[in-house]
Amino acid sequence: MYCILVYDVGEKRVGKMLKHFRQYLNWIQNSVFEGELTKGQFDEMMGVAKKLMKKEEDSIILFSMQSNKYLDKKIYGVDKSGLTSNFI
């Protein structure tokens, strides 16, 4: 599935979350990630994320869809595209 993940966590845990999610998804903006995951990868990722977060304070929101075919992405301002590409 194709995911867009945003998080808002306490300052202390921002770095940890960043490092963790970077292993699974492409970083596109501060606290925003995007990418393709399998069910297994997703469970693995969220399993660890749940341990890292403080349930009372932090929030992680995940938007997901079957594939990015239906996703219309537009970038305004600074174009950081290429960060999600597999051609470097």
């Binding site: 970077r22 292993q23 492409n26 990418g35 393709e36 990722m45 290429g82 597999n86 051609f87 470097i88």
Partner: protein, 357 residues
């Protein structure tokens, strides 16, 4: 599905924070590989430099299927170790775009009994012939399928198709591997004569030559075949098959000959069709090649364009008849490996992949 990552801009790959960082050379700190950095920066031509990413890029390790290094890159053993731990093969291509090798991480899907069976099928001449025949049969079918496609589109290729099908009739009666290879060679020779009809005069093949490729089309065919070969190798790595024991090609030293065997079946679909498409749409033209050292080579920009199309191609999905679901072209290769395994362990007889659309 995990993606293949293609590195076209010179830089350093490293393990950091349990994932992969890519740092273009102009951002590498001076104390790291200073000599290497200067050397490489001098060799980067101006139009490449513009497309250099300005910052580090973090690649999600969980998204990496394999690496294709098409340029100068540096890394250390920590990075290789990390790739091994995450089961990521790295394919290297040299300055001229020739395949130079693969970093093949430690095997992780081991099966002693399959290995024994694989060797048994290799050493018994009748069993080996049976499999080799299937590979050629599949390859011949797919080759003629390609010509048939263009035959219905105002190109006259009937003569080639007839000759190829005539030659293919001899496959079942072949009694040695050499004979099979001979038939395969003849079929391909006829097949290549059809290229001029499909691609027009501008890209003339005359004859297939490599080491070095004698004209632009030869260069393109060589490059695309290497891409198919490496893709097949990556897929074999994901199965229990041993990549060095092959049936059609002679298992030699220092090469993964099973990948050559299986690639035979997929070259018509993955490589040739892409060549036809890209040349006919003028995405690749004769000016995209340069002649050097008695040979022709693809320029960087064209190489990148080709790889991009190739990657798209692998992601294309079709409905599989037997499985009744959408699968990608890349998946077909894996399924082919599974079919071969089933044959080797005596479960189901191997039937080569034939283009059914």
């Amino acid at each position: 599905m995990k993606r293949m990552y293609y590195i076209f801009t010179p830089g350093k790959l490293k393990r950091k924070e349990n994932t992969v960082f890519y740092v273009p050379f102009k951002n590498v700190e001076p104390q790291d590989d200073e000599n290497l950095q200067n050397e490489v920066l001098l060799s980067v031509d101006s139009d490449m430099a513009e497309s250099l990413p300005t910052n580090k890029i973090v690649l999600p390790v969980q998204d990496i299927d394999s690496f294709y290094i098409m340029t100068e890159a540096s890394f250390n053993t920590k990075f290789l170790d990390f790739c091994s731990a995450n089961k990521i093969p790295i394919h290297f291509f040299n300055y001229y775009g020739f395949y130079s090798g693969t970093y093949y991480p430690k095997e992780y899907l081991l099966s002693g009994s399959l290995l024994v069976n694989q060797v048994k099928h290799y050493s018994s001449i009748s069993k080996r012939l049976e499999i080799a025949r299937k590979f050629i049969e599949g390859a011949a079918f797919n080759l003629s399928k390609n010509l048939k496609y263009y035959n219905t589109r105002n190109k006259d290729l009937q003569a080639q198709i007839d000759t190829m099908e005539g030659l293919a009739m001899d496959i079942p009666s072949a009694t040695s591997i050499e004979q099979l290879m001979g038939i395969e060679g003849n079929i391909r020779k006829v097949y290549y004569t059809g290229f001029e009809e499909i691609l027009g005069k501008e890209f003339e093949l005359i004859s297939r030559k490599y080491n070095p490729p004698s004209n632009p089309l030869n260069a393109l065919i060589s490059f695309s075949n290497m891409m198919v070969y490496t893709t097949v190798l990556s897929e074999i790595y994901r199965t229990q098959l041993n990549p060095t024991i092959s049936f059609l090609h002679e298992p030699g030293d220092r090469r993964f000959s099973l990948a050559l065997d299986i690639a035979e079946i997929f070259k018509p679909l993955f490589a040739d069709r892409l060549i036809f498409k890209m040349i006919n749409n003028r995405q690749i033209q004769t000016k995209d090649f340069e002649s050097r050292l008695n040979g022709y080579y693809l320029k960087d920009t064209a190489r990148k364009a080709f790889v991009q199309e190739y990657d798209e191609k692998l992601k294309t999905t079709i409905k599989h008849r037997k499985l009744q679901k959408e699968i990608s072209y890349r998946r077909i290769i894996r399924l082919e490996c599974y079919k071969l395994i089933k044959h080797l362990i005596g479960d189901t007889e191997y039937e080569p992949f034939k283009i059914w659309w």
